[in-house]
């Protein structure tokens, strides 16, 4: 059983909010000098963050049932209310642990478009459209260090690159020692409770983008402890890797580089998951959103009246009816493209999965030059896999039929 609470930065489980450590603020008191920042070895080991930080310390053992929100640093005596992960000592938001904070791991073979998808998805989540629809505010959180800018900087840079500079990305760098900083988004939503009172709830969505190369060898895949700690998986599949799909399109050679077969990558992910708590002896229990990327290449082939292009989700949450239609249509297309083995593998090993139709760019890019279509970025259905998973996690409602 996956821990309900885990650090969104190092993915280590945290038993309860009361176990969170505190981070000294480095303020001098009348009797002692302030703590000085130094490199935290635990943090460096678990997250790669090697800049000097103020020391973290565990909460005092309190007999009281109500843990204190403010404590004094045992070294300098300064008061602090800043929370930190007990494992990696990374600063956590004040509201962390109050509500669920699911960890989503994006997996997929090399060249499936994970980084583009994560960039576009994050921007869509931050957009006013999603904000209005869910009465939510979404923003990236996290701090950075010199040379390794924070993930929010990374995200801004990626968004600028795709949306303003019209550039795509080269292959994602391999994770160093199996770790790479996740992108953490704060999802703050206003809702009415059972008594009709307006309340705010904050969830933290942690996205871990695995490099394609990380899945290239058995050892590396097994080393991905993020995969095992995930609450949800987004599995991205590149339809161009399926011969049947490729034959229906006229794609340039740059769009179809030779990679390891999708089924082999999927099998490797499955093996890694079987070593985790997600394996119940018969099936893998973690919900998997299987998203087919780059579907803009099929727009002309499908035609504008095809259900995948015509039918739109109803706003306000996860639309089960549209979701089922997309699942069925994509499953039938997968079969027609000769991807029956992928479906059989998923059916055999995974208890809860659903297919999605996704185009992060919304228009065919120039694969040879790795540039976005000059008309701009027009994402299509990118949020649907996440809404399904968030619905599974109880974070968004189902749209009434």
């Amino acid at each position: 059983m996956t821990a309900k609470l885990a650090c969104p930065f190092c993915y280590n489980p945290i038993r309860r909010r009361g176990d969170l450590w505190f981070l000294c603020r480095g303020r001098a008191t009348a009797r002692k000098a302030a703590c000085r920042p130094s490199v935290d070895e635990a943090r460096r080991r678990l997250t790669g963050f090697a800049e000097p930080t103020l020391p973290a310390f565990p909460p005092a053992v309190e007999p009281s049932l109500m843990p204190k929100n403010k404590v004094h640093c045992p070294r300098c005596g300064g008061e602090t209310a800043i929370r930190a992960c007990p494992h990696c000592h990374t600063r956590l938001p004040q509201e962390f642990g109050v509500s669920a904070s699911p960890m989503l791991v994006m997996v997929g073979a090399r060249g499936t478009g994970k980084t583009v998808y994560l960039t576009v998805l994050s921007r869509e989540l931050e957009s006013a459209k999603i904000g209005h629809e869910f009465n939510a505010t979404v923003q990236p959180i996290g701090e950075g260090q010199d040379g390794f800018g924070s993930q929010s900087q990374w995200l801004r840079q990626n968004i600028r690159r795709v949306y303003d500079e019209f550039q795509l990305f080269p292959a994602t760098a391999q994770a160093v020692d199996g770790r790479k900083e996740p992108l953490v988004l704060e999802w703050r939503v206003e809702h009415a409770n059972r008594l009709g009172l307006r309340r705010s709830r904050t969830n933290y969505l942690s996205f871990y983008d695995t490099a394609g190369e990380d899945l290239a060898g058995d050892i590396e895949t097994q080393g991905l402890h993020y995969l095992r700690a995930a609450n949800f998986l987004i599995l991205l599949l590149d339809p161009f890797q399926l011969r049947g799909a490729r034959d229906e399109l006229r794609l340039p050679a740059a769009a179809t580089p030779r990679h390891e077969p999708t089924k082999d990558v999927l099998a490797r992910i499955t093996e890694a998951l079987k070593l985790s708590d997600h394996w119940n002896g018969r099936k893998i229990t973690v919900p998997v959103a299987v998203a087919f990327t780059k579907m803009d290449a099929f727009y002309d082939l499908l035609g504008e009246s095809h259900p995948l292009r015509r039918e739109r989700r109803r706003p306000g949450g996860y639309d089960e009816s549209t979701g089922q239609t997309v699942h069925q249509q994509m499953g039938a297309l997968l079969k027609a493209w000769g991807g029956d083995d992928i479906n059989s593998h998923l059916r055999t090993y995974y208890r809860d999965y659903q297919y999605f139709f996704v185009s992060a760019l919304g228009a065919e890019p120039n694969y040879d030059n790795a540039t976005v279509n000059p008309i701009g970025v027009h994402p299509d259905r990118v949020e649907e896999p996440l809404l399904w998973l968030m619905h599974r996690g109880g974070l968004v409602p189902k749209v009434a039929p």
Binding site: V176, Q328, N369, V372, P374, I375, H378
Partner: protein, 476 residues
């Protein structure tokens, strides 16, 4: 001692935003090499800086990107220069060569480097060869950069006049827009007052067929563009001709009158409210999404007008680049009966607004939409029936409905993917009036479940079938 902070500041940061290939630059600075290093220091330093690049290449920000490019370029250089890179003399040569090489890259690095090499490295021909190859490769990359770097809004500009040897006496124009009204713009064309010959200026949107400096007859000149008439006035040491021209990108070409001939001057181009390109309308549910390519000029916003296919535009909107990006294009809510969209770029010219020529596109009416629903009717003492309820959004005649049954995990994609269970029709559907047709309920053995019932619709005119919710189509 390798100063990483300084390296970051002086080498990595200036290269921020570089994609594809590194532009030519100071080789010694990129390798942070002191020309006074001895062989041992150089070897150690190269090892250190390569390790630094490898570490920094993991960074998730621009440094990672730049360091990957540095590594890539280094690998290419090692292939060409080989062991010479471990020789301090080679680097000292680079230190001498660099300024000349850098300034020359834009013209023809290969020839120039040959000259330089011949004068300074007579004893090291193989190194000169390696260097030539390296700089030539970089220059090639440099020339192709515009192709690699995205130009999302490149306007379709006429090709410049054929290249010609630069003439010091070529007449050069300055063109400046002053004010605009709708799709016309007033421009000022000026040239030095010292030019005593009479000057004619012609303008066109097409590329000039003339070569700068050549002498042509007036009849030849009249074959290209239109003459801008008016009397030039002297102002600030220049002769200024004011003319009104249509908006868009235009080329202006001066001619010096020399007896019975005209001497071709240097062309000047100016884009004022360049039209929006690649207008595209795509159906999005009942509505449509309009997209286009923005020009690279200072367009303030796009004016979008739309209406029925045969009617004047009834709706207007001003779409800024930000609104376009945020809204993933421009959405029109309902286009089921077809739409005609016209867009114009609007630019600021001296406080007035210039409108580009309109770009127009249309979308035909959506095909008739025939929605169906499936229901099982149980009958006492008899076989149950399948009730197919059809509803069209407009009148449709001679509609054929094929009821297909298919076994498997997923529904059939077309009518050949299953067994034809029933063929209903020809049917006449009236707009929004449901028609219920009954046929026997398909008898599907238990071992073939789940199975699917899906209807495929055919009519003389184009129609699109709308499936019911998935659970109504499934036979469990």
């Amino acid at each position: 001692m390798f100063d990483t902070a300084r390296y970051d500041r002086e080498v990595l940061r200036p290269l921020r935003g570089t994609h594809g290939q590194l532009p030519p630059g100071d080789l010694l600075a990129r390798y942070s090499i002191d020309p006074d290093m001895d062989a041992a220091e150089l070897t150690d330093h190269l090892r250190e800086i390569r390790a630094f690049w490898a570490r920094r290449a993991q960074a998730p920000d621009f440094r990672g990107e730049v360091c990957k490019l540095l590594i890539h370029t280094d690998q290419a250089l090692r292939r060409t220069a080989g062991a010479a890179m471990d020789d301090p003399a080679w680097w000292r040569e680079q230190a001498q060569l660099y300024p000349a090489t850098r300034t020359y890259l834009a013209d023809d690095p290969l020839d120039r480097s040959v000259d330089v090499a011949a004068t300074s490295t007579d004893l090291h021909d193989w190194r000169a060869q390696a260097r030539r190859q390296f700089w030539a490769a970089l220059a090639t990359v440099d020339r192709h950069l515009p192709l690699v770097v995205a130009a999302p809004v490149a306007p379709p500009r006429p090709a410049p006049a054929a290249p010609a040897p630069l003439s010091k006496s070529s007449l050069t124009l300055r063109v400046r827009p002053t004010v605009a009204e709708n799709d016309l713009c007033r421009v000022e064309l000026s040239w030095p007052a010292e030019v005593t010959a009479k000057v004619l200026v012609r303008s066109s949107t097409d590329p000039s067929p003339f070569v700068e400096g050549e002498e042509i007859s007036p009849a030849q000149a009249q074959q290209w563009g239109a003459e801008l008439t008016g009397t030039p006035v002297q102002r600030d040491g220049r002769l200024v001709l004011t003319a009104t021209v249509p908006t868009g990108y235009r080329l202006y070409l001066p001619f010096e009158v020399s007896g019975a001939h005209l001497r071709v001057g240097r062309p000047a181009g100016l884009g004022i409210a360049v039209p929006l390109q690649r207008l595209r309308i795509e159906r999005d549910g009942a509505g449509a999404r309009v997209s286009w390519v923005w020009p690279s000029d200072s367009t303030l916003f796009a004016e979008v007008a739309w209406g029925g296919l045969d009617a004047e535009p009834a709706e207007h909107a001003e779409v800024t680049r930000e609104r376009y990006t945020t809204g993933n294009g421009f959405a029109i809510p309902d286009v089921r009966s077809g739409v005609r969209v016209s867009i114009r770029a609007v630019a600021d010219v001296g406080g007035s607004r210039a409108y580009s020529p309109a770009t127009v596109a249309g979308l035909e009416p959506a095909p008739a939409s025939i929605a169906y629903d499936l229901r099982r009717r149980w009958r006492l003492g008899g076989p149950s029936e399948l009730l197919v309820t059809l509803r069209s959004d407009r009148d449709c005649n001679a509609v054929q409905v094929y009821v297909v049954v298919s076994a498997g995990e997923f529904l059939p994609l077309d009518r050949t993917a299953g067994r034809l269970h029933a063929r209903l029709g020809p049917l006449r559907l009236s707009g929004d009036v449901p028609l219920v047709v009954a046929c026997p309920w398909p008898d599907v053995p238990k071992q073939e479940r789940p199975s699917w019932i899906r209807c495929f619709v055919q009519a003389p005119s184009t129609v699109s079938a709308v499936d019911p919710p998935i659970d109504r189509m499934r036979i469990i």
